[in-house]
C-alpha cells in the first residue's frame, strides 16, 4: 500500500515537473508561435545550473558553491534565460526556420558539451554530491518525497497562475497578435522581434525552473537526462493537451507521462525478451505517431485554445 502511494507520489512529482516545462513551452509555441527545437537544453541548463551552484565541492569539475538553495535554483533559471537570450537575439529577426534549427543545435551542443567537458560538469558521470534542501529536517524517506511533491505542486500552480495572468494581460494579447499577423502587429508600432525575445526568454526561464526541480528531485544530473527524447516528450504533451491553453498543457503532461510510463512498463513486462532491446524504438514510433496524428486530425489538441481569433481556425 505504502509502496503504491509512494509510487504515485513519485509519478505525480515527475509529471508536475514536466507540466511546468510544458507550460514554459506553451508560452513560446502556444502563445507566441516560437518553435523551440531544443527544449531539453534549457531544461538541462536549469538542472545543471542548480546542482553546480547548490552542490557540495567536487573534485575535477566546476561546482560545489553550496549556495542557498533558492539562489541555486534561481541561478539555474538565469542560466537557461541567458542561453535563450543569445539564441533568440541571433535568430528571432530571421525567418522561423532559423529558430527551430538553432534551438535544435543548442540541444545537440549542450548534451555534447556536458558529455565531454569533464572539467565543467563531470562529463558522462554527471554532477553528484548535491544535498537536497531541508534533508536534515525531513530525512530521505517518504516524508521528504511528500513534502517535495507539494512544493512542486505549489510551484506548478504559481507558474500556471502567472501565465494565465500574463496571457490575459495586454502583453499576452500582443503575443497572439504577433503570432497571427506579424505585419499588422508591427504596423501598430510594436517591435515584434523584441516582444518575441521577451516571450522566448520567459518561457526558457520556466523550462530552466522545471529542470532545476528535476535535478533537485534526483539530486543528480548527467548527459543521459538531456537527450532529445525529453524534447519530444514535452512537445507531445503540449500538442496532445492543446497548444495555447495552459490547462491543456498541464493535462497533456500528466496524460503523456502516464502513457509513456505505462507503455514502458507494459513493453518490459509483456514483450518477448528478444524484443526488449527495441522498447525504446517502439516508444519513439508511438510518440512520432502521436505528434503527426494530432497535427493531422486534431491540431488544436484535446483541450483547444479558448480564444477564437486565430486565422488557423477560420482556414480549416
Amino acid at each position: 500500500m505504502i509502496g503504491t502511494i509512494s509510487y504515485l507520489v513519485f509519478f505525480a512529482t515527475t509529471a508536475s515537473i514536466l507540466a511546468i516545462a510544458v507550460l514554459g513551452l506553451n508560452l513560446q509555441w502556444g502563445n507566441t508561435g516560437l518553435f523551440n527545437g531544443g527544449v531539453v537544453a534549457f531544461f538541462g541548463a536549469g538542472a545543471y545550473g542548480t546542482l553546480i551552484l547548490g552542490g557540495t565541492p567536487q573534485d575535477g569539475h566546476l561546482g560545489g558553491y553550496g549556495l542557498f538553495y533558492p539562489l541555486a535554483l534561481l541561478g539555474g533559471m538565469i542560466a537557461a534565460g541567458l542561453m535563450a537570450w543569445v539564441v533568440g537575439l541571433l535568430t528571432l529577426r530571421l525567418r522561423h526556420d532559423y529558430l527551430a534549427i538553432a534551438t535544435f543545435g543548442v540541444a545537440v551542443a549542450f548534451e555534447n558539451l556536458m558529455r565531454n567537458a569533464e572539467w565543467l560538469a563531470g562529463g558522462a558521470k554527471g554532477v553528484r554530491g548535491f544535498e537536497r534542501p531541508l534533508r536534515d529536517a525531513l530525512g530521505d524517506g517518504f516524508l521528504y518525497n511528500i513534502a517535495f511533491f507539494f512544493t512542486v505542486l505549489i510551484i506548478l500552480i504559481a507558474v500556471y497562475l502567472f501565465l494565465e495572468r500574463l496571457v490575459a494581460s495586454p502583453f499576452g494579447r500582443l503575443l497572439r497578435a504577433i503570432r497571427e499577423d506579424e505585419e499588422a502587429a508591427a504596423s501598430l508600432g510594436k517591435t515584434p522581434s523584441r516582444i518575441r525575445l521577451t516571450a522566448f526568454i520567459t518561457g526558457s526561464v520556466i523550462l530552466g525552473l522545471a529542470g532545476g526541480l528535476y535535478g533537485t528531485f534526483y539530486a543528480f544530473v548527467s548527459p543521459q537526462d538531456v537527450l532529445p527524447t525529453l524534447t519530444f516528450q514535452i512537445w507531445a504533451m503540449l500538442i496532445v493537451g492543446g497548444a495555447g491553453n495552459n490547462r491543456g498543457a498541464v493535462f497533456g503532461a500528466f496524460l503523456i507521462w502516464g502513457a509513456w510510463t505505462a507503455s514502458g512498463w507494459a513493453l518490459s513486462r509483456f514483450a518477448p525478451i528478444e524484443a526488449q532491446l527495441y522498447t525504446g524504438s517502439m516508444q519513439f514510433v508511438l510518440i512520432g505517431v502521436v505528434i503527426v496524428g494530432m497535427l493531422m486530425w486534431r491540431p488544436q489538441g484535446l483541450l483547444p485554445e479558448r480564444l477564437v481569433v486565430s486565422q488557423r481556425g477560420s482556414k480549416e
Binding site: 530571421l94 527551430a100 493531422m296 488557423r312
Partner: protein
C-alpha cells in the same frame, strides 16, 4: 592536417548532396524539414536491400569495379534506391506534410517533420535491427598518397567524391540550361509569379521531393560507404546538413554545395585542436558564426 582536409572534403561530398534537397524543400515549402536526414537512412537501407537482392539474382554482378569495394550490384541498387527514396519523399509529402500545409498552419510542418523523423528512424531500427551494417565486409585497402606526413585515401572515397561532383554538375546543367530548371528557380524566387508564367506548383513540389529524395539516397549510400549504415545515421546527419544550408544560405543550391564542404572540412579540421568527442557540436558553432556575421548565408537572400 592534410589528412583532415582530405577527409573533410569527402565528408563534404555527402553532406552537400543531402543539403541540396533540404535547401530546396526549405525554400519552396518554407519549413525546416527535420526528417530530411532520414531520407538518407532510407536510401542507404534501400540500397542495402537491393544490393543483396541483385547479387542473389545475378551473381556475376557481385564483381567489384576495379579497385573499389563497390560492386556492379550495388551500383544498380543505388539507382533503384534513388528512385524509391524519391518516391517515398513524395509519398510522405502527400500523406503528411501536404495535409498539414493545407490546414494553413505552416509552422506545424516543422513539428510534423520531427514526428516523421522519429517514426522513420525507429521503424528502420525495428526492421533492420540496431546494429551497424556494411555494404562490403572486405577490408578496403587505402592508397598511401604520402608517407610523411602519412596521407591515406581509400579508392571508395575517391569514387564518392567524383560521383558527388558529377551529380552536382548534372544538377547545375539542369538548373542553368533547361526550362525545367528555370521553373524550379522561378518557384523558389516567387511562387505566384511562377504560376502566372505557366508553372504548375504541385508538379514542381513533386519534382523537388523527387530530386531531394534521390540525392539524399546517394548521400546516404556514400555515408554508408565511408562509415557504416546504422538506423541512427539520420540523427547524426541532421544538424550538419542544416548547418550546410544555413552556411550556404537557405534556398541556394550552390550555397548548399559549398556549405556542405565547409561543414565537412570544419568538422574534420576541428579534430586537430579539439578531442573527437566535440565533433557533433561543430555544425552548431558554424551556425552561430554565420548567424552572427552573415545571417543569410553565403548566397542567401533575406526573405521574411
Amino acid at each position: 592536417m592534410i589528412q583532415n582536409l582530405i577527409d573533410g572534403v569527402l565528408t563534404g561530398s555527402y553532406l552537400s548532396l543531402g543539403a541540396i534537397g533540404l535547401t530546396l524543400v526549405m525554400h519552396i515549402l518554407r519549413f525546416a524539414n527535420f526528417s530530411h536526414a532520414e531520407l538518407l537512412s532510407l536510401g542507404a537501407y534501400a540500397a542495402l536491400v537491393f544490393d543483396a537482392l541483385v547479387t542473389a539474382l545475378v551473381p556475376v554482378l557481385a564483381a567489384k569495379l576495379g579497385p573499389l569495394s563497390l560492386t556492379y550490384a550495388l551500383l544498380i541498387a543505388i539507382l533503384i534506391s534513388m528512385v524509391l527514396t524519391g518516391i517515398s519523399a513524395v509519398l510522405i509529402d502527400r500523406l503528411v506534410f501536404k495535409r498539414v500545409r493545407e490546414k494553413g498552419w505552416e509552422l506545424s510542418m516543422v513539428f510534423a517533420s520531427f514526428g516523421m523523423a522519429l517514426i522513420i528512424r525507429n521503424v528502420i531500427g525495428l526492421i533492420f535491427g540496431l546494429s551497424p551494417e556494411l555494404y562490403s565486409k572486405d577490408i578496403a585497402f587505402a592508397m598511401i598518397l604520402s608517407r610523411d606526413p602519412l596521407i591515406l585515401v581509400k579508392p571508395d572515397q575517391v569514387f564518392v567524391l567524383i560521383a558527388a561532383l558529377a551529380l552536382m554538375f548534372v544538377l547545375h546543367l539542369i538548373l542553368s540550361r533547361t526550362t525545367f530548371g528555370y521553373a524550379l528557380r522561378a518557384v523558389a524566387e516567387n511562387p505566384s509569379l511562377a504560376q502566372v508564367n505557366g508553372v504548375n506548383l504541385a508538379r514542381t513540389v513533386t519534382a523537388v521531393w523527387l530530386i531531394g529524395g534521390g540525392l539524399a539516397a546517394v548521400a546516404g549510400v556514400f555515408y554508408g560507404l565511408s562509415h557504416q549504415v546504422i538506423p541512427v545515421m539520420g540523427r547524426d546527419l541532421v544538424l550538419p546538413i542544416f548547418a550546410a544550408t544555413i552556411v550556404g544560405g537557405i534556398g541556394s543550391v550552390y550555397g548548399a554545395v559549398l556549405g556542405g564542404f565547409i561543414v565537412g572540412i570544419a568538422g574534420n579540421l576541428a579534430l586537430v585542436v579539439l578531442p573527437s568527442g566535440y565533433t557533433p557540436s561543430i555544425p552548431f558553432m558554424l551556425i552561430l558564426i554565420v548567424l552572427m556575421i552573415r545571417p543569410h548565408g553565403l548566397f542567401g537572400e533575406a526573405r521574411a
